[in-house]
């Protein structure tokens, strides 16, 4: 294997991982934008999507249909979370809102453990997605699920780009994220925007959860925690609340993690997560608004 092949292989891995982080981070940013709330339950919505697919495939539903249903189930979960947990405390102090968000996380995870137990179960992937592809005589390999992850991320993010720049609802979501009272004054129905934001963000979380489980090969009730934490880091690096920032942050974080392991000696790379969080702290100190929002202070 040549040096170049090795680098190309790592780039493929970085784009694949970065895509997952970007998908999760984008949803976090959408909700934070309109509600100024860090939705910790976002990771559990991923779990709902992944479990939906696992259960449906288990009873014989074809995989693509199960994926669509899984995404829909995640969207419904997000809708219900907003309706039941967040709407009643929308005007409450930040601390109360943050604690509610954490409480929702624990409730969903523990219900998941009660129903499914905390032991991981197999995520059923059709054979076609388990095959791997080779380039340069086997020097670069990637699995179909890697390719699917990258392709679906690109398509869904293009769709999101269209939504937030071309539709009145999407523009309204960005407007409300910038200035809530101005959004009221132009006559935007802010309540409706918040509902749409949760549905869209949760659908993206559902897709991310399905792809995450497909790559890991297993699903379990606490599976959302790690990606949520990583997406949180990605969103802060990019600029919390900015959708473009979440995207950029996701890919930067994916690349950072893969390259630390790929190019640094193992004595250093075993501290991968420590290095990632050191980068996070550095960002919070030097550029708290993130890469794309240099002058904005954020409050979590």
């Amino acid at each position: 294997m040549t040096q170049l092949d090795y680098i190309l292989q790592q780039i493929v891995n970085a784009v694949s991982l970065g895509s997952l982080y970007a998908l999760v981070a984008v949803g976090l940013s959408i909700v934070f934008g309109v509600l100024k709330l860090t939705n910790f339950a976002h990771g559990d919505v991923m779990m709902v999507g992944a479990f939906g697919v696992a259960l449906l495939v288990g009873i014989g539903v074809p995989f693509p249909v199960a994926v669509i249903c899984g995404i829909a189930a995640a969207a419904v979960a997000g809708f219900l979370i907003e309706r039941i947990a967040y709407r009643p405390i929308r005007d409450a102090p930040d601390v109360a809102r943050l604690l509610t968000s954490l409480a929702v996380t624990y409730i969903i995870e523990n219900v998941g453990i009660l129903v499914f137990t905390s032991s991981p179960r197999n995520f059923p992937l059709p054979d076609i997605l388990n095959t791997s592809w080779e380039m340069s005589n086997g020097a670069i390999t990637f699995t179909s699920i890697n390719l699917l992850t990258i392709a679906l991320t690109f398509v869904s993010l293009l769709l999101l780009g269209w939504f937030i720049t071309r539709t009145t609802t999407g523009l309204g979501m960005r407007a409300a994220a910038e200035d809530m009272s101005a959004a009221h004054l132009v006559g935007l129905n802010v309540n409706r925007l918040i509902i749409v934001a949760f549905i869209v963000a949760s659908a993206y979380a559902g897709l991310a959860g399905i792809l995450w489980a497909a790559q890991a090969g297993v699903v379990q009730p606490q599976m959302g925690f790690t990606p949520l934490l990583k997406a949180f880091v990605a969103a802060i690096i990019g600029g919390f609340g900015s959708i473009a920032g979440a995207l950029v942050g996701g890919y930067i974080l994916g690349a950072l993690e893969i390259f630390i392991v790929a190019f640094l000696p193992s004595s250093v790379s075993s501290y991968r997560d420590a290095i990632v969080f050191a980068v996070l702290i550095a960002f919070l100190l030097v550029r708290p608004g993130g890469l794309l929002q240099p002058n904005r202070e954020i409050k979590l």
Binding site: T165, T168, L171, R174, E178, S181, H184, G187, N189
Partner: protein, 243 residues
């Protein structure tokens, strides 16, 4: 003078609290169709609060707001825009990360009449030609004067029957202030009804037919602009500053 036109907006004994502080202590005012009415007074007199409450951003604690015969006190801001009241707020409050075109588009977000929206944006470009050149630019990158023009245009895109203006001259270079007020005069000629809050009393009284002088949450004085302008002593007393 002309025969009196029907009352479009009627505020009766409006009271608004901010926490424990009574910001408005029973304000009453009328705006007739086609009329320009100014609210003047020192900082903290309750001018902006009056406009915010009419727009539905603050809830009245007491009193009535009647628009076109219907009570609108305390209903949702988006419904108030749909009924025909748009506001160009203090400090402009544009969506800075969105383009000029998108800001105008959101100004019309309560409307569904596509052709009329296109016609109205053409009207905006006649009134504020600079906006046509800046369409693709982010609103946050415009100069203060350009931003103020965009804020006015955004409010007008709602096709309001009553336009609320909060400090349209604030943070705008003097030359552009003249330009903005001549645009407002043009709107007045076209028959637009306006309720104007403006620190610059000369500008306000030149444009308005009538004015209310507010002091600490109450109407201290009201009358025709010409009369108020001439009573130098009264203006001095209530505004505390010569203009």
């Amino acid at each position: 003078m002309a025969t009196p036109s029907p009352v479009l907006l009627s505020v009766e004994n409006l009271e608004v609290n901010f926490g424990a502080v009574r910001a408005l202590k029973g304000i009453s005012l009328d705006v007739h169709a086609g009329e320009v009415v100014a609210l003047v007074g020192a900082n903290g007199a309750g001018k902006s609060t009056t406009l915010r409450t009419i727009s539905g951003l603050s809830r009245p604690r007491g009193g009535k707001i009647i628009f076109d015969g219907k009570p609108i006190g305390g209903i949702a801001p988006s419904r108030i825009v749909t009924l025909g009241i748009a506001q160009s707020p203090e400090g402009r409050r544009l969506f800075g990360g969105l383009t000029v075109a998108d800001n105008l588009r959101l100004g019309a977000c309560t409307r569904t009449d596509k052709e009329a929206i296109v016609r109205d944006s053409e009207r905006m470009f006649m009134l504020f030609p600079i906006l046509k050149q800046r369409l693709k630019q982010l609103a946050g990158t415009l100069s203060g004067g350009e931003q103020q023009q965009l804020a006015l245009a955004r409010a007008l895109m709602a096709a309001p029957r009553l336009l609320l203006l909060d400090e349209p001259s604030l943070g705008v270079a003097p030359l552009l202030v003249r330009h903005i007020f001549s645009a407002l005069a043009e709107l007045k000629r076209q028959g637009m009804t306006m309720l104007l809050v403006e620190q610059n009393i000369t500008l306000a009284l030149d444009l308005a037919d009538r004015a209310y002088v507010l002091r600490t949450g109450q109407v201290a004085l009201s009358g025709r602009s010409a009369e108020l302008r001439d009573s130098e002593r009264v203006a001095q007393a209530y505004l505390g500053a010569a203009t």
